[in-house]
Symmetry: C2
Subunit: 332 residues, 2 copies
């Protein structure tokens, strides 16, 4: 019920996913049952057999404080859908609603994986080398070195399991390639990452992300979040500049039309809808967080991603890797 | 002597600046005199009356450690040119050489302005609102709140004096607009900035930079540097994507040609050469730091910027503003 276009696109995306992978997936729509039924009827849709509805009477607003929602909305669609995992009635939950509330409810309800101090969300950015993962992208700020190691482990497993990257290159985001460049957090994190069994390639810089000079870019969530939002605004600036240019005359207008077309086609392999949200890694369950403006295509792909996370046992891999660092007393 | 194309472009840019503002500017070329004279002759140039040469026997390499250069290169072109300010033989120094060495030599030789704890360099990024200043962009990491206040004061004066922005809007770069969003550094810095007489507009996000939702974006240099380098790599990714697209066929190739042309024209008002480097703010003198790949146009504009910094008494304004915070015990 939480996304900007809820519940229409959630319903459409769910039905599409359920039909496309009818053998593998059962979808439970969680929300105000009456609203859901009315929307389904209004859209002239019929629920396939593998799509059911569970009623949840509350909705968390997009701007509601995560802690308030934890306190006051135990029967929200978000909360109920996550609780289904605890009750073993679902293997994963997805939402295009309030990101902070999703993180809070998921962490609170599902708990953390063994050995994980802080759950994390990464963000996928385009690169000349297909995609780069920047992790953490805002779940966790004022991190300790061990948290950056956790992010590196989780990011590495994620890129390997979900994006098929062999032995992902892990870079520590800093302000110079040399080990001596950075801040207190990176100096200490470097020491930990060096001791890990990850494919740690040392410090990387802001310019290495889009150039694809690592697969996993590890950083404190304060930095990752600023990069993510900065990146999201690039197209806005280009559109603004192109619009101003197009208003110079008819030739410019024609040229700008071509530019838009080329931009769209040449950047088509990077459409966030295809990536279908990002998982909150490190919780004892599968919780996929989508953009508030998710389309039905994005919802469908979020469902597929959830299925993949479960099938590939990403959480089991994370716990196994982290347990090695605990055993070897690299972290404690 | 330090830039990637030294000393040719330094000589050309200096002569152009000296001729264009012959009444206002005297340029002293500092470097290996023989190399300079030979280069001038080789280029068939003649030095105008207001361009002179002072010999400096050493050169700091672009990859030399700043501290090593401080210890071992007292007679480098960089060091000698900065020393001219101490000897009252120059009002400003400019260099396209080793940035770290420039900051170290400038800070060490010139000292800091009264009340300034850490000198800073900002970076100018394009925005829908002309330009945004992100400060600090890498001079200072692991900052304390008072340093962020200093950056805000210096950045504000800089945007007002040099870019003509009235009452510049100062935003604190964070991960949410609400005061409650951020990390330990921003929480404490917010309190200080609120007490200041700056036009403080509260927290701003990564997406606000290119959208021009503030004029001065204050942050720790670790973050500013990563943003700066990330921004510099955007065009690389676009070029890569466009190239791949252009190789799909002749039509695509023609279209890509148009795209390049439009990009160039519509982004022409943001050519770093026009901004001519950035000053190291907070030192007791004027030190302009240019890109290693500076062209002669960039050098010329760096000289003009230096002249403007001196003429507009930017340093005096900074000391005056900071003194108010010291008097009112907002910082101590």
């Amino acid at each position: 019920m939480g996304g900007d276009f809820a519940p229409e696109i959630e319903i459409k995306g769910s039905i599409e996913a359920a039909l496309e992978k009818s053998k593998d997936i059962e979808v439970i729509l969680v929300g105000k049952e009456e609203v859901l039924r009315n929307t389904i009827n209004g859209l002239n849709l019929t629920l396939p057999e593998n799509v059911t509805i569970i009623n949840a009477k509350d909705v968390i607003a997009m701007d509601e404080s995560p802690s308030d929602s934890l306190r006051n909305k135990p029967e929200s669609s978000l909360s109920v859908s996550i609780a289904l995992q605890k009750e073993k009635k679902a293997d994963a939950s997805i939402s295009a609603g309030n990101t902070g509330a999703n993180m809070a409810h998921s962490t609170y309800k599902l708990g953390r994986l063994n050995g994980i101090g802080r759950p994390t969300i990464g963000t996928i950015l385009p690169s000349v080398n297909k995609v780069s993962l920047v992790i953490d992208a805002g779940a966790s700020v004022d991190c300790k070195p061990r948290h950056l190691l956790e992010f590196a482990v989780m990011g590495s497993i994620y890129m390997n399991s979900i994006f098929g990257v062999d032995n992902p290159r892990v870079g520590l985001l800093s302000i110079g390639e040399e080990k001596s460049k950075g801040n207190e957090l990176t100096f200490q994190s470097y020491e930990l990452l060096e001791k890990s069994s990850l494919n740690f390639i040392g410090n990387v810089e802001g310019s290495d992300i889009l150039r694809g000079n690592a697969d996993v870019f590890v950083c404190d969530g304060f930095i990752g979040n600023i990069i993510l939002k900065f990146a999201e605004s690039i197209l806005d600036l280009l559109k603004y500049k192109f619009k101003a240019y197009s208003e110079l005359g008819i030739i410019q207008k024609l040229k700008t039309g071509i530019v838009k077309n080329v931009m769209k086609e040449s950047l088509s392999d990077f459409d966030y809808q295809n990536y279908g949200g990002v998982p909150l890694l490190g919780v004892n369950g599968v919780s996929i967080i989508g953009h508030g403006k998710s389309s039905s295509l994005a919802i469908k792909n979020m469902i597929f991603k959830a299925e993949e996370m479960v099938r590939k046992e990403v959480n089991k891999k994370i716990e196994f890797e982290i347990s090695k660092y605990l055993e070897n007393k690299i972290i404690n």
